[in-house]
Symmetry: C2
Subunit: 399 residues, 2 copies
């Protein structure tokens, strides 16, 4: 059995759907989640079978929604490393800190995971054109995988999206549209576009399969830590597919009996002070978030005024005794520079935000010195070189 | 035995040196190469022992010059993937084409290999400050690993060096100097600087250990192809450490008996028409190259007017029945766009130059359709986004 794909289930109500046709969201307006035949998988699939397989996210194909290898659109994704940052670790007094470095994936961000699985599944469903709203990096990833699959893509992003992913997306030949406002306005444009053209919308949580790619971070993490989950996982959060994906992965691994039943890491959602809808909801004890007006942060990937899965994310935080916490742009800038100056590692601002969060949460005692903490670096610092300010100095001037 | 390190030998004359002190080049002015105790390694080390080890270049530590793991400065380098480019493959009629994608290494280029081993060995030798001349990417890599090792670094690059690696290097806190001219002028500055300060010069071939890092491409390649070397290896070439390193790796693997004795891939050196000293020497049957005046190309990593190892590179080409071949900047630009438009892969210009070379060499019959070809993508396309030209178009204008 290449995949244990079973059906789709609403994340909120009790509706279920078959997998044979394209689906977007549930009729009730909530995201759909992919379900697998766990009983069969439990019988037929063991951890030991992984040893023989190639590194990378597709090694977990039984828990991915593509039912035949012919539809796999892969760009040889590596298993992303768990990095140590020895000096940052010391500086923060978090001795057991690891950073899962997603920058080594194709197109330089964790968005490649969702794009690889999402495009593969779209190909299996006969899709010829995809459309999505993005802050930039998802666009670059989906456009690249779409090319690989021979599909057209329409990518809508805010005019304020960073220059690098914009250029990357254009370079693939995708149809790129720039919209005033945030990703929310780009989303409205895409919704209208798919109504008019019949393109398949693949914006975060608008279809069920991107999440399945994202969850492979959780599988890799568990395997890399010898099937022991860490105490804390810290994710810089915009749409929240990463958090939801990792949690789903851990639930599935528990149900296979590959990791300890009922033990979850504290799931920590880091947002920017300029765009912190989940933090605001968490702090006021709400079950859903409110649209965050005038959202603004230098960590563009986290500039999502309201996640479609906000209720689900807040429930994950509650269930795992996690937290939602906001850091300032100044903290992000400072931490990004700390990381490269202390450990030579060039994080993206979102990854730096997560580490700035680790620092603060250690200071207030939420994170203990004895805890194994995994912080996610979602992408390459190279995507944001424009934020680096260096005075040009010639040898002549200097000597 | 963590390392089989034995001694240093000149690449040209018959002088040898011990490894206990810092060394730069041989007294005769040629690069020094690291030698290992192959007899002991052959007795004590088998291919099977690799299975248990972590992925990445340090898994071959017996053939690296660092004699104790305490000195290893690593940033969790992954084993770089061998990518397929199905549509480019078809388009060029090179069915067995693979691209070794070095962009997933720390700082986004193959320079990380040399920097990781070079800095580790420098640390073991008690070095406190390194200095090097670079077209940009080596600077970014060495500065990052130097930070990790607690060393200072002086990085000299041409004022025309690309913006991204310049910014990356500055960001680490390195002392960056910009010089008029090419890497040759930067080299003169560095030579003077080390005389005055006692810093350790680590420019290409100026010390023996960078090459040892570079050669791990060859080890990985052989292991990934189940210890069968390909028919052709295509390397975009500036200083040439990559070509020399891979060849050295294959000689060592042969001497261990891990790969077939005496069988080498044709080693193909690709240069840019605007800076092709090795091609000119190869075509006129010279044993060394002449300084290439007014060197200029968009593939900055290949802008090296004269390699310190030119004689060695030319002899490798001769011994393996390879070739040195030049492509134009227009070819490079076109191929880079082809790759991303056909297969969604964002190569760097140097990697695109190598593939443009594959295309031409297939056209003239030097490469046969039946041959297994490995082309090296030396770095991330993100380093060169400034070369991408996209007209900004807003949704409003377009609809």
């Amino acid at each position: 059995m290449f995949s244990g794909l079973s059906h789709l289930a609403c994340s909120t109500c009790d509706k279920t759907y078959g997998t044979e046709f394209r689906r977007q969201m549930c009729e009730c307006g909530s995201p759909l989640f992919v379900q697998y035949d766990m009983d069969s998988l439990k019988r037929e699939w063991t951890r030991d079978q992984l040893a023989e397989r190639k590194q990378g996210m597709w090694r977990y194909h039984e828990l991915l929604p593509v039912t035949h290898p012919d539809y796999m659109i892969s760009m040889n994704e590596v298993m992303t490393p768990l990095m140590t940052l020895p000096n940052i670790s010391k500086d923060m007094d978090v001795p057991l800190l690891l950073v899962k470095d997603e920058s080594v994936l194709p197109t330089g961000t964790f968005k490649a995971r969702g794009a690889s699985v999402g495009i593969s599944r779209a190909k299996q469903l006969g899709v010829k054109e995809i459309a999505l709203a993005t802050n930039g990096n998802a666009g670059a990833a989906w456009a690249a995988y779409a090319v690989r699959a021979g599909m057209k893509s329409l990518i809508a992003m805010p005019t304020s999206a960073p220059r690098v992913p914009y250029l990357e997306t254009c370079y693939t030949g995708a149809d790129v549209r720039l919209l005033e406002g945030t990703i929310a306005e780009a989303g409205i444009f895409v919704a209208d576009y798919v109504l008019q053209t019949g393109a398949y919308e693949v914006s975060t949580f608008k279809e069920p399969y991107r999440l399945e790619g994202k969850k492979t971070i959780g599988f890799e993490l568990a395997e890399q830590l010898s099937w022991k989950v860490p105490d804390v996982i810290v994710f810089p959060t915009g749409g929240g597919a990463g958090v939801v994906g990792i949690y789903k992965a851990l639930v599935e691994l528990q149900s296979l009996g590959w990791i300890e039943e009922g033990r979850f890491p504290k799931m920590v959602v880091i947002q920017a002070e300029g765009c912190a809808p989940l933090v605001r909801a968490y702090e006021s004890g709400e079950k859903v978030s409110t649209y965050y007006e005038n959202a603004e942060t230098i960590a563009y990937g986290m500039r999502v005024p309201k996640s479609l899965a906000d209720a689900h994310i807040l429930s994950i935080i509650a269930k795992t005794e996690g937290i939602a916490y906001a850091v300032s742009d100044a903290d992000i800038r400072k931490e990004r520079q700390n990381i490269v100056r202390l450990d030579g590692f060039h994080a993206c601002p979102e990854g730096a935000a997560a580490l700035a969060g680790v620092r603060k949460l250690r200071e207030i005692g939420f994170i203990k010195a004895s805890e194994r903490v995994v912080s996610i670096n979602t992408g390459s610092g190279l995507k944001y070189v424009d934020q680096i300010d260096c005075a040009v100095q010639t040898a002549q001037e200097k000597i």
